[in-house]
Structure formats: structure tokens, C-alpha cells
Amino acid sequence: EDQVTQSPEALRLQEGESSSLNCSYTVSGLRGLFWYRQDPGKGPEFLFTLYSAGEEKEKERLKATLTKKESFLHITAPKPEDSATYLCRLLSGGSYIPTFGRGTSLIVHP
């Protein structure tokens, strides 16, 4: 059974304090790992897709990386507007049913 675990559940940072969010997974044939951002009261917003170990994607202050067991979402010099819940999602070769992690709630204080 495919599993996704995100850590930490919650993270508080000061503006400018870089950190990383983790998404650990077990899957029968990874076809894609997706990162989303969800603001309160809104649906998740797509950020990145990673397909194979060693791949990296960047967007503004965010950088996503992938290994065979986990993915990291690195946040460099975060700003208060980066505050949101970040969700990780798997697409495996064994199923079309997506598996989401529970998310990491990030709060960036000014």
C-alpha cells in the first residue's frame, strides 16, 4: 500500500529563516510526486511535479528535491505570504488513485 508521511505537522519560522519540509513515501513504482500549497478556505494550488530521484524544481523561494525515499521542499528566506499548508501527493504505477500526505502547516512571522 502506498504511504506518504509529511513532517513536521506544523512549522513556525521568522521571516528570512530558511527551512525544509519533508515528505517521506513508500510506493510501488513512483510515477510522480507533486507538491501543492493550500491557503485557508481555498483549494490546493499546484507547485511542482518531480518524476525521478535526483530531480529538482525551483520557483521563487521554493525548491523541491526528490530521492528514492523522500522529497524535500526547501524554503529560502521565507516571507509572511509563504504561510500556508503544503501538501505532498504521490502518483504510483500501481494505481490511478492519488495519495496525499496530511500536510505541513507553515507560519512565517514578520
Binding site: 510515477r31 510522480g32 507533486f34 501543492y36 478556505g41 481555498k42 483549494g43 490546493p44 494550488e45 499546484f46 511535479t49 518524476y51 501538501l87 501527493r89 502518483l91 504505477g93 490511478y96 488513485i97 492519488p98 495519495t99 496525499f100 500526505g101 496530511r102 500536510g103
Partner: protein, 118 residues
Amino acid sequence: GAGVSQSPSNKVTEKGKDVELRCDPISGHTALYWYRQSLGQGLEFLIYFQGNSAPDKSGLPSDRFSAERTGGSVSTLTIQRTQQEDSAVYLCASSLGVSAGGSTDTQYFGPGTRLTVL
């Protein structure tokens, strides 16, 4: 064009009543998903439609839940005889569809319908 839209944005109902939630996917997207998100919980998969194929209903929590997709576009999620534990945000997402994997399965979400069962 427009993104995924859902209606209503909020629904308050009494226990035992039936409710219908609507999702308008992005035009041209063949895949449509329904999820449920309870407070502090992750996204719980409910049902998946792909083109004209029979839907995957493996995530529906009980036979009170059903969904249909008319003409390969608009979808309606129906909850019969609502219970208080049905209170949650119901999210719909659409994608170009899963073929060889990859970007075609990037899901785009609607804003959700917040359901409150009193």
C-alpha cells in the same frame, strides 16, 4: 480559460437531509476527482472519473454517497441522509488525465464546498 468551479461555496443542512454538490471542471479535462477534507485532516479520496470509463468509487465512505458526471463535464456529488460526521470541505479537481503519467495528471482544484450538517 476559467479554473475549476464548485457550488455552492457553503452549505448548511440538517441531519437527515440530502445535499447535492456541483463541480465544473476545466474545459477539456477528462479526469475528475472528488475529495473530502475534514478539519486538520489530509485529503481523503472519494471518487474518480476518467473519460467515459466506469468511475472508481473505491473511496466512497458509504452507500449514502454517490456521484455522477454528465456528458464528461459537470459532476454532482450527492450525499443522502446526511450525518454530522459528513461535515467537511468537499473538493473537486480535474486534470487532462492519466495516460503515461507525467504532467497530464497535474490536478487543478476548485475552491471547495464547505458542508455543515447540524
